[in-house]
Symmetry: C2
Subunit: 416 residues, 2 copies
């Protein structure tokens, strides 16, 4: 017997037929003897409809009212799934965010979960013949005001992890449109492999760097509460699952739990990068602050800062910003040109950041050197480099994206 959270997204509950399919997945786990809490999103398209109505009513609308409107989508799905489970003869009841209650802060529209008490749900597992808790994802309540909050797009993953932490679940199964986390994007590298396991820290890097399987926030929360997440396919039919076998999927867990010893776990890449170089700026205290201060004030996120060794008291500073902020960043820097004193601002929007990720790097030297050598052999020019304990990021021309990702995937032994 295990205690499970099962999370299904909007596509999996898009109509009554698919809700029935979800119910049969739940039935399978309950019949296998498990205690189950299900977290559901709104039916596909519903959230967009509700958001469009709010925008139609007023372009700049009260986020508290927006939350009240938008949270109704998950409310509907939770009720319908509970009805469907009951029709199968299972004990089930729906829970809305305010009923749990799932407490959040009051950042309406993108609230952060503070926590919930899972005691009542656990007691109902025991006292009501494993009653399935069907929980509306994506929503919570602010304790002081009693207003409904929502967690922002993709928030149902975070809801699921928070529920798993609160009820001390053995595992939090995220049913999604892919059957796990891959060593890299299979659309780019045919030989990409599904990982059996990935450490929280690695998944965080993968998620931040463009692997869209999980929301960054949900992985952070899972790492904090040591919730084991299992990413698996929602397209597999319940009857095709062998109850005695480990299903295909990827477990996101503590690195202690990962026995296989990879040095590199995956290659991620992000096209949402633009490079800015400031030429021949005075290498003296306060210059960095003078440059990055105005960007911070403009709420522009700066990444991959590289400063060369100075020559004749002058240096070049290179960094990246999100593509969407590229023009704004250049304008902000133009404004300080005279004050700071530099010869030119150069930039490129057609760049991509490729990252090599793996907790094994901590104990292995030469990982970066291998990448540089492999890229150089393919004549791929490196524009900037930044590293962390478990990640090496390299900025290159966008045209070389696929070549670079395939090369790195192969050189670190990730090909099938």
């Amino acid at each position: 017997m295990a205690r499970l959270v099962m999370k299904f997204g909007g596509t999996s509950v898009a109509d009554l037929d698919r809700i029935l399919n979800v119910a049969r997945h739940v039935e399978r786990e309950v019949k296998a003897g498990h205690e189950v809490a299900v977290v559901v999103s709104a039916m596909a398209g519903k959230t967009n409809e509700l958001v469009a109505w709010c925008r139609g009513a007023a372009p700049l609308h009260d986020a508290r009212e927006y939350d009240a409107v938008v949270a109704s989508g998950e409310q509907v799905t939770a009720g319908l799934l509970a009805i469907t489970l009951q029709e199968m003869g299972l004990q089930a009841r729906s829970w809305q965010g305010w009923q749990l209650p799932m407490y959040t802060d009051n950042t309406h529209g993108s609230a952060r979960i503070i926590g919930m008490n899972g005691q009542e749900i656990i007691e109902r597992f025991k006292s009501r013949n494993r009653e399935v808790a069907v929980i509306a994802g994506f929503q919570g309540i602010h304790k002081e005001t009693g207003r409904i909050t929502t967690l922002g797009r993709g928030g149902s993953d975070t809801s699921a992890v928070a529920v798993a932490a609160a009820i001390q679940a053995d595992r939090c199964d995220i049913y999604t449109d892919v059957d796990g986390v891959y060593t890299t994007d299979p659309n780019v590298v045919e030989k990409a492999r599904r990982l059996d396991k990935i450490a929280y820290e690695e998944m965080l890097e993968m998620a931040s760097l463009g692997a869209k399987v999980m929301q960054v926030r949900s992985v952070e929360l899972a790492m904090q509460h040591r919730v084991r997440i299992f990413v698996r396919s929602s397209f597999v039919k319940p009857e095709d699952i062998d109850p005695h076998a480990v299903p295909p999927g990827t477990l996101i867990c503590d690195e202690e739990e990962i026995v296989e010893n990879h040095i590199v776990t995956g290659i991620a890449f992000s096209k949402d990068e633009a490079q800015i170089s400031i030429r021949r700026v005075a290498d003296k205290p306060g210059v960095a602050a003078a440059i990055f201060g105005p960007l911070a004030e403009a709420n522009i996120n700066v990444d991959m800062i590289v400063q060369n060794i100075s020559a004749e008291g002058l240096t070049d500073i290179t960094f990246t910003v999100p593509t969407a902020d590229y023009e704004r960043a250049k304008k902000a820097l133009d404004g300080i040109k005279n004050k700071v004193g530099f010869t030119a601002i150069e930039g490129a929007a057609d760049v991509v950041k490729v990252s090599i990720i793996g907790v094994g790097m901590r104990s292995h030297a030469g990982v970066a050197a291998t990448a540089f050598k492999a890229l150089s052999e393919r004549s791929i020019n490196i524009r900037a480099i930044s590293t962390s304990e478990i990640k090496i990021s390299i900025l290159i021309d966008a045209a070389y994206t696929e070549l670079a990702v395939r090369t790195l995937h192969s050189v670190y032994g990730l090909d099938r």
Copy 2:
């Protein structure tokens, strides 16, 4: 300055344009200096969609889950109207049933309101520059379980009256697709007049007898709490309303408040009647119980019971049942034929009950005689009669419905 409740049904909030129109009605009242709580239904069609999903998930579904699903419709409208009011520069916030809280019993799907405390809304009128309370109608919460309840179809009228009672409103305006309560159905009698005022008791009879303007339950609640209801048109544009004139509509109020002295206020009729006569049954104690007991057990509502004076120890008993229960009632009586002993069961489904209603009857003799004489002059045969203090009901052949209603409308001086 007055304190008002304004209630708008599903057609009035069917899309963003109509919600904007509702918001302009609200703005008009707020600008006139009033404190306003608005009660809204779900957007037209939404409740049907949600109900259909519940039925699709399971024909016999948990009413608690049904309520959670269906209540989402009003939640959306309340949020959207609050956003629209804010966009106009008014203070506004939405309230769901559980936020007020609007306490009900736990008869899920058709819960009865227990009451709400209006203090917070009243305080916010004062402290937040007449903040408009935008309240999701049709829904409440059961105190012990914390589950969402709904009041059943048309329940938003009852919500509005309960809110009006809780905040001690001067008036509860029901905006609807007719501009008031008429002396009879204008589709049948061209000369039907809109009433300026009608007493609670009269409205209760009119509503029970088929005038569909107001739900019976909402009128009962209004009578109990002395809430003055004003039925008015939602089709009038806000800019066409003269703020200095009394708008067209009907006030449902205490009879003390009605100065004009009508004997008869209106003529109602109900086609949902079927007549059953039991011929030549023994006139002895226990016979009525033997006949009506099985009908009560079969949950069939019996109305207009008439028993003739007996001849030779035998009598005829006539009564009416709802048309939908006609065949079931006859079958139930067939089963007791031998036990009770009667010669025949006769019946007719093509009958109609016409009712003459007016609190003035209490103090006036001869009202019934006038009706009988007028109908007799038109050769309309009376099949059965039943009376109460403020109502005379007459059962006739359905073919004579229009003629009878027009005749009575005229004879009591109700024509324009």
